[in-house]
């Protein structure tokens, strides 16, 4: 395995092929809580094409992580997928048994988790943890496993990987640990990598390095990436296409330039307005109100109570998924 360092590359949309690698259709997830069944995902649909990067943006509790975890079958015990399909390679992943799914998880689809500080088991050395993934995913043992582990660590730009193998997680910095997590996730040569806010817990400079690394890995492994974040500036930097989530629904999705230039949904516009821009001295715009609690759902559009342009239709009935320009849809009555 050649280790490719990140290098500035042309915008990845050039590599895009048309057949979707992963199709998510009407994915619905419910949580059992003390207040009854709560719908965390409501008919979420999107495609991921080979080699592209899809951003999923939204504020806390909008369902971004639940989307990622339901694809990876890592939902908490009280959550249940109640509808929809996740198609990969012509198969609906939701119909696979747990044993069959282990042939997908880590091998076809892998994931980097949010918090590098809790993503590594504190009682095992780095080499043990990466080596375990190598053994399980590739059946390598002994010296071959160690060599492959070193390659993986070198592939994520960890200096002196032969020495680092002997470190415990607490002996490494957050950025280094996130690289180890990535190396573990890549042990099975996956085609899809889901990144659930991988840089949220990192300093700004380390964050930029990690994004660079991720782009390099995408190139080296030919990865399709689902990048989950609440940060629109990271989306602009990383993604080909973007899906904006609000209260368990994808409110708007489309090409990243299209969304930035012509945001159709008022929520997207509000999010974009709240991103700080260099050189502007005005105060940041905020979105009034609170995200809705999914426990007591009102009729109508979930964003309507906070929406500056909502009218009576918005409060009365749920909006349809409006197709705008090609590949650009918006879940809004007033989308233009």
């Amino acid at each position: 395995m050649n280790a490719h360092g990140p290098s500035p590359s042309p915008h990845p949309s050039a590599r895009r092929s048309e057949a979707p690698l992963l199709e998510v259709r009407d994915l619905t997830v419910e949580f059992k809580t003390r207040h009854g069944e709560v719908r965390a995902l409501d008919r979420v649909s999107f495609d991921l094409r080979a080699g592209e990067t899809l951003g999923i943006v939204g504020e806390s509790g909008s369902g971004k992580s639940v989307t990622a975890r339901s694809i990876m079958r890592l939902l908490p015990r009280n959550a249940r997928v109640t509808g929809g399909e996740i198609r990969y390679d012509g198969r609906d992943l939701l119909t696979l048994s747990d044993r069959e799914f282990r042939g997908i998880r880590g091998k076809a689809i892998s994931m980097v988790l949010q918090d590098p500080l809790t993503s590594l088991n504190p009682v095992f050395r780095i080499g043990w943890q990466v080596g375990e993934a190598v053994t399980i995913q590739q059946g390598l043992r002994g010296a071959a496993r160690d060599a492959r582990s070193v390659d993986l660590l070198r592939g994520v730009n960890i200096p002196a990987p032969e020495i680092r193998l002997h470190n415990y997680p607490h002996e490494m910095s957050g950025g280094m640990r996130q690289r180890v997590v990535s190396a573990t996730a890549l042990a099975g040569n996956p085609r899809i990598l889901i990144c659930d806010e991988p840089t949220t817990a990192l300093d700004a400079t380390i964050q930029a390095q990690f994004l660079n690394l991720l782009r390099g890995l995408q190139e080296a492994y030919g990865l399709a990436i689902i990048f989950i974040t609440h940060d629109f500036s990271v989306v602009a930097e990383m993604c080909d296409r973007v899906a904006v989530m609000y209260s368990g629904q994808i409110r708007e999705r489309g090409d990243v330039f299209e969304i930035f230039d012509h945001p159709a949904h008022p929520y997207t516009r509000a999010l974009l307005a709240s991103v700080p821009k260099l050189g502007e001295t005005e105060r940041l715009t905020t979105i009034p109100g609170q995200p809705p609690s999914s426990a007591n759902k009102l009729p109508g559009c979930a964003f309507a109570p906070r929406c500056p342009i909502a009218d009576s239709v918005c409060h009365a009935s749920e909006p349809p998924d409006m197709a705008l320009r090609d590949d650009h849809t918006s879940l809004c009555w007033r989308a233009q």
Binding site: R105, N157, M172, S173, G175, M176
Partner: protein, 304 residues
């Protein structure tokens, strides 16, 4: 190998190579803050128990009737040969205490191993899977904890006859609910960590997750618990032996020795007193050690 150079991340500076440390130094560091008298005493008990056959001054099972009920050596009429005196059958108290140490430790170790393994496995299953598995196991725990344990143990020992094996099984079964509860709680906490998710992503099977990834996070708790329970088990074995259903005679046990002397406390107090002191000191030391382990192994307190 083609590697494109990137800006080096500010890594944690490499730790200085650990200087060669002698075994004695490492031992001293490991024992920093430990209750040394307790540790020393437990080491003594352990050593004595291991070497019991070799160091007993007299046969602990058969007595010399000519030397019955001798007082300890420093009392009038005592003999240096029977340093702690003899019982009513002329058996050497010191020899019997030494043999009894072995019995007590074996009973404690075996029953804690049994109860610990049983409780840990069931607790792991309950915590990890939840649902009906959790319900069934935890209701079993509740049921057992609501039984009057000493009475049940007495009945069982009378029914099955008191033997070493029955005693160990009984105490083991008595202990498992405590382990199951603690381990279940810890598993509930650990299974939510991202590193368990990462282990799944790495391809681990459910069993591997349970026993390779979740279990090691519980070791410290288990060590503390086993230490604290060892003292309790020694007391329990003593109580059962005192009541006549423990280790069957003539095998000496601290509890049965105390029982044997209870009729003659006024005239021959040493028959009950010395095994009682041995038990007291051992249990006290185990509790002190357990408390220290709890303070030392608890990561929250280490950071303070």
């Amino acid at each position: 190998m083609q590697t494109t150079k990137t800006a080096p991340e500010s890594t944690a500076p490499d730790l200085p190579a650990a200087p060669a440390v002698s075994l004695a130094t490492r031992l001293r560091r490991a024992l920093r803050g430990a209750p040394l008298p307790a540790v020393a005493f437990l080491a003594l008990v352990l050593g004595v128990a291991l070497l019991a056959d070799l160091i007993v001054p007299h046969d602990p099972l058969t007595g010399d009737l000519r030397a019955y009920s001798l007082p300890p050596a420093w009392k009038a009429g005592g003999s240096v040969s029977y340093f702690l005196g003899t019982d009513l059958l002329g058996r050497d108290i010191l020899s019997r205490i030494i043999m009894g140490a072995r019995i007590s430790l074996i009973v404690a170790a075996a029953s804690i191993a049994l109860g610990g393994v049983l409780g840990t496995v069931l607790g792991l299953l309950a915590g990890h899977f939840g649902g009906w598995i959790d319900e069934v196991i935890m209701r079993l725990v509740d049921t057992q904890l609501s039984l009057p344990s000493l009475l049940v143990a007495l009945v069982a020992l009378v029914v099955f006859g008191s033997s070493f094996t029955v005693l160990v099984i009984l105490i083991g079964v008595w202990l498992w609910p405590n382990y199951a509860r603690i381990v279940r709680g810890e598993t509930l906490r650990i299974r939510r960590y991202d590193y368990i998710s990462l282990a799944r992503i790495a391809g681990c099977s459910t069993w591997r997750i349970l026993f390779v990834h979740e279990l090691p996070g519980i070791y410290n708790t288990l060590i503390v618990m086993a230490t604290l329970q060892a003292g309790w088990v020694i007391l329990l074995e003593g109580s059962l032996s005192y009541l006549g259903v423990g280790v069957p005679p003539p095998t000496p046990s601290w509890g049965s020795m105390i029982a044997e002397g209870r009729g003659d406390l006024a005239s021959a107090w040493w028959i009950s007193m010395f095994p009682g002191l041995a038990m007291l000191a051992t249990v006290l030391s185990l509790n002190l050690l357990g408390d220290w382990l709890r303070r030392t192994l608890d990561p929250k307190q280490v950071n303070q």
